[in-house]
Symmetry: D2
Amino acid sequence: MYGAICAKAAAEMRKPNVEHYFSRCIQRVAPKSLAQATAEVVVTRKFLENFSGDQVRFMARSFSVTGDHDGQMSTGWRWPYGPSAIVAPFNFPLEIPVLQLMGALFMGNKVLFKNDSKVTVVVEQVLRMLHHCGMPKEDLDYFCGSGPTFGALLKRAQPRLTQFTGSNAIADRLVDELKGKVLLEDAGFDWKILGPFSGSRKSSIEEQLPYISFVCDQDAYASSGQKCSAQSMLFAHEDWIKEGLLAHLEELASRRNLKDLTVGPVLTATTRQVMGHMEQLLTIPGSRLLFGGKPLQESHSIPEQYGAFEPTAVWIPLDKLIMPKYFKLCSTEIFGPFQLVTEFTDVTLPDVLTACELMENHLTAAIVSDDPEFQRLILGSTVNGTTYKGLRARTTGAPQWHWFGPGGDPRGAGIGTIEAIRHVWSCHREIIDDSGPVPTSVTGWKLPPAE
Amino acid sequence: MYGAICAKAAAEMRKPNVEHYFSRCIQRVAPKSLAQATAEVVVTRKFLENFSGDQVRFMARSFSVTGDHDGQMSTGWRWPYGPSAIVAPFNFPLEIPVLQLMGALFMGNKVLFKNDSKVTVVVEQVLRMLHHCGMPKEDLDYFCGSGPTFGALLKRAQPRLTQFTGSNAIADRLVDELKGKVLLEDAGFDWKILGPFSGSRKSSIEEQLPYISFVCDQDAYASSGQKCSAQSMLFAHEDWIKEGLLAHLEELASRRNLKDLTVGPVLTATTRQVMGHMEQLLTIPGSRLLFGGKPLQESHSIPEQYGAFEPTAVWIPLDKLIMPKYFKLCSTEIFGPFQLVTEFTDVTLPDVLTACELMENHLTAAIVSDDPEFQRLILGSTVNGTTYKGLRARTTGAPQWHWFGPGGDPRGAGIGTIEAIRHVWSCHREIIDDSGPVPTSVTGWKLPPAE
Amino acid sequence: MYGAICAKAAAEMRKPNVEHYFSRCIQRVAPKSLAQATAEVVVTRKFLENFSGDQVRFMARSFSVTGDHDGQMSTGWRWPYGPSAIVAPFNFPLEIPVLQLMGALFMGNKVLFKNDSKVTVVVEQVLRMLHHCGMPKEDLDYFCGSGPTFGALLKRAQPRLTQFTGSNAIADRLVDELKGKVLLEDAGFDWKILGPFSGSRKSSIEEQLPYISFVCDQDAYASSGQKCSAQSMLFAHEDWIKEGLLAHLEELASRRNLKDLTVGPVLTATTRQVMGHMEQLLTIPGSRLLFGGKPLQESHSIPEQYGAFEPTAVWIPLDKLIMPKYFKLCSTEIFGPFQLVTEFTDVTLPDVLTACELMENHLTAAIVSDDPEFQRLILGSTVNGTTYKGLRARTTGAPQWHWFGPGGDPRGAGIGTIEAIRHVWSCHREIIDDSGPVPTSVTGWKLPPAE
Amino acid sequence: MYGAICAKAAAEMRKPNVEHYFSRCIQRVAPKSLAQATAEVVVTRKFLENFSGDQVRFMARSFSVTGDHDGQMSTGWRWPYGPSAIVAPFNFPLEIPVLQLMGALFMGNKVLFKNDSKVTVVVEQVLRMLHHCGMPKEDLDYFCGSGPTFGALLKRAQPRLTQFTGSNAIADRLVDELKGKVLLEDAGFDWKILGPFSGSRKSSIEEQLPYISFVCDQDAYASSGQKCSAQSMLFAHEDWIKEGLLAHLEELASRRNLKDLTVGPVLTATTRQVMGHMEQLLTIPGSRLLFGGKPLQESHSIPEQYGAFEPTAVWIPLDKLIMPKYFKLCSTEIFGPFQLVTEFTDVTLPDVLTACELMENHLTAAIVSDDPEFQRLILGSTVNGTTYKGLRARTTGAPQWHWFGPGGDPRGAGIGTIEAIRHVWSCHREIIDDSGPVPTSVTGWKLPPAE
């Protein structure tokens, strides 16, 4: 049934006016450019296409192994949890709810859903569309109230599984209150490493620099940095610094403006809080402001409880970064257009690995290099769940066709793909069939001794 | 490398004297018959055979999907957690440690291992054998001290993952102290349902009864009921009760004796505690003692801190069982030769489903019936991780070739099979390769607008 | 790209007028009822839904295994053949072409396509729709001429792979001319076995008979028996014969008429040929005509070169059927509303197995029984590629969500599912990456001795 | 059962004296060095380890998908063919027979086996060992006579499947006589491409050359070139030629001698035949003898019907190689220590692709380059079943842990791995279970209209 719903819903969302409606709907509540909002609608539609037809039943396929005697066979199923819950964030008001919700429903769970109360209009609209496409109204309960009320509800209901996407602090509380029956995608302090130039004959570092810089700007500042995959830390090999990387970054950041929402309000921190954090960073010896660092200068009506500041980059020397007394400060995520930049050399590469190891959250990462040995070295020392490698590597922009989620944590939840849905929304159940003939005295069976 | 170690270790354990040595070693510390102890050695050896040769690398296989442009590809890997821990129980002193440890090591984790201090001799012997077969001594740390000390150690070390097998109470504490980074197989209050006789032309219920009764006796009392899969609750359709099931069970239980360890000491409850629990049960209206219920009569030297009592069955009426005021008492697991028995009819079948739903742990279960519709009805209402169905269904005796573990819980851990090891000992890591040509102005690339 | 084409094409075909248009289009050229024609359109549409979005790339997924040293890894890919051909039959003018063609294109092959010249209008219309949905015109060449011309073309072109669906004789010639580079679904002489009544308490044989008979009628005579999966041989246990199966079959057949095309023209045999075959069968001692056996009595304008006769059943005694001198005659397929019926008992069951073993083509089969042991006995003695079991088993009506194809033949081709497409339209290619560091004298490598 | 046999047999072959016995046994009948013969024993043993324990049943695992109504489910099985045959070659007298035979037996086939009558002693010895380890004597028939007799036998028996490894000519005849029911690994004219030096900063081309040359020598001349994977054609980019590749190759070849069997008798061509072929090649304009080209100078007792000549390399200009009038001659495989060498530049690279495309057999290939774009270009234009890429790429030395077999041919057979065995030795069988309740008038079912 859900295959038919997906096929119909995707056909609806393929209509240009429906696509545009949802894009605008997203822009109303989440500050991002039209391009970014439309991308969210497209990814959601492709996800629905992926589970059209019989793909839902194919996803739930089981496997069987023959047993020790005639009529014995064991089958490994993916089984739903039954009563479960989802808590979704504000920053992708269409994509994250749909991908998570549909995943839960595909596998046969009964879901209680909540997301950020600022963006409920988007979910409400998409649910109406899904009902129109045949989704039974009773398959899903949608909770539109405050966080604490929902927390109390969950604590009493004790769902068999809760999928949470959001901040570390709330994640910890849920894990505690729900006895660990939680899968989560919590904070991401995501990093990118620009490896040494490999000496390729094909294109010089000078030719490569503009594209590499462009991807850095997108990763750090698109959607005002309010993606869980946004680049928070950039480790650049000296080759790139010498070539003028910093000037490129500054110039690209300066293109951003409020009018087309290429920079916009920050929903989880005030301007004052961010400026305070920045000032603390600038007390670290050798640190300096690369660019930004000021409240937005354009006239605007962003309320005080949100942040409004320029795309900002702060330089931290690598040897300071990894000092215990500074590392916690440096690795605190600002969920906005804010990043740290540092430099390494062939000699100080181990310090980069140390920094990666010290981080506690392992969502996305990028290893920008075409050297397989360099790639393997970094990969082998890290566990980020979604890691990009290659000269075109980025940290953001994950599509619906590959797993997206944190690594190195048994509580980690993925979204979007068959593997993610099977992992999060079902558990292994082994059903062993033993339908061989019952041994009886007629067929010569004798009672064995007790064991 | 671990493939070669497994092949050699299995070859060692295939030698009759090594097999016998380990069987006796097990009997020294865990009260079970020679048949049961030998079965443990054989299952362990077959597990090692299963991961001989290249099977360890085959188990870690990844999959890849092509991307959106030339040179882009995404690969889903199973990645080790790195620093991790295992806490194992006393009842299978060889099988559980080896299956869990080797699983962790196969996937590349670094393990800190602890098991019950009463049975360390078995692990110590098998580790020496594995070192002899080539296992590097530094791959594993073995902790031989007390539980509380180890708990404190874990709390400080915060391993990325801990696999725990044991009681509910300790499981809850670990989940709390390790922030949910725990996978576990906790208490099993396992049940069996004997379905209505289907009217088969092949064998009469009279012919089937001896075998069915024999399996019940084994499931409830083998290894003195000290298996996590032991049958704690038997729901029998009236067809079987009328046919004389209870008399058969009593007769089979009466064959058990201390001499050949077909019944033996209970390590986690004293005789007094069990008798107290039984007396409480017998206050439920309509309940009665079916057989057993007395301390072991044979002369023995079992110390006071252990239990020593006859294989026991207590009858509870189904309508009382599911009453809230009695259910918690009835579903308290006694980790020894102790079971509850009840009866249902076609009319009261829903009460059986209610009882199954009320249980909180979902390890093994058996649906003894050859009627596919009856099987589907029970399966659809339950989530036990390892469920047997068919006239030959049992609750115990899981081999190394199918998943064994609880269901319906995101914290549930399986053991033994490829799927179990991949699930418990690795996490998904997606590595996206983007090695396509870097867009440059030479090849016509122009800087796009910011987003 | 093909994922997007499928999504759009499925959305088109979901429109009621498009669905109706194709159904009528099919009826114009292939004699079947509107219900059967519409079913063909629906199955085709669901197939397209199944490969929407990213499912085409997911289908082509590869797997990787790590090697013996750093930087070595082996990947198993599914690789296209490149230049290939398809020869499709007349009886499913929409479904078979689309499922086969799209399968070939999904995997990246370049296809030369031919089907029966009587039904080209349907393919032509669907190709125009696919072009409209974005399919590049150069991906596929469509040949609309005669069989011999195409045969000569194939012989010269020697495509790397040809998928053929049709008669045995042409299959043999193609295998010869194309040096075995052919995968095929040739003739199906499909059988059904009605097993002994199991004595179920749930429903009596009297209650079951109407449904069982109805399925037999559909399997033998729907689409005038012109399905490759049509039931050509019915083995009925005496339980069913005694209960009145034959009278039921006769009554159901008598409902069929030309007006609504529940019986219609036979395209591959003339009335005279079929009557001749029947007469030969009736010379076998003990055989008799059960019903039908006459040219269609209604006034009609079916041309002489086609067949037009009533749904027909001929009784053959089992002991005669398996005689070498009769078997070849009995197992000659009439591609029309024509079946043989025989009876067996518990004692003569081995003769049924003998008959199944003597058959040369192994497409569909049905084992109508709810006894797992009976099912296993028949399954273990047969190799039919698509076998139904259970009391509701049929031989026809395969949907798009499970494999459909012959068994027991390395040349056998399946259609429709992921497994079928991967098997037919791609071959295994193992690419071993060995990008570890090159050993050099700088890193201590010394030239080893020759081997 | 076969899991236990494999475990025992591998344990036997791990004993040093058994390993040595089989190595010497191989050397008696197949001319190769002790290192090469021992490698054959080790690969065979590891293959047996891979299928120890339960891995045979795991390999045969099926998968299931739920149906459209309660009680319906479809399962895709891998099913044995039953009566089948194997024809194995002389060059790997232990490895190929064991890997192929065991694969067939694992999947439940009944096999008639034949190999080259010159090497039967090895198979006979290993069969005795397998019988000792528990293999039933009736599972396999071993035919030790002449090829024509066996051909006649096959033609009469018409096994459901025959796996053939050997020459093109015999393959064609078998395909014809067995109506295409053949899977084969026929001639391999295997090539290697040394790509342009990428300008890596890590090691210079001068440093890389010795290792690259060493691998070329091994690939072309180890086991006297009598491997189906031996390098027959070397395409070297001018970078390597300029650096002195040819001198390195000549020097390495000159180390080979008859005493330690690093060069030895050629079993399928006489010295005269090879010299004749070489002379024809040398008539091509621009061709020249690089080294070798003479009968073996050492005194020896190799009989006249075998070949005995020095490791030989002939230079052919690329533009001549791809001319239709020369290509067939150039691409004729000499199954001995004989290779062609040619040079290409960035400009003439398309000619290399043309040459690869013209070849008719697609077994192994190597792309020696660390440039992913160069690798993708070559990979995208070729279909070799086993292709190595990377600076360490080779054409020979395939282990038991990855697929080995030809590509681009539906008749292609792989050996060794799970995928290869499933592909060759089993066919897909879909078994659809429809055990839902039978619709009856009691439950409200009414007879639908005919279709």
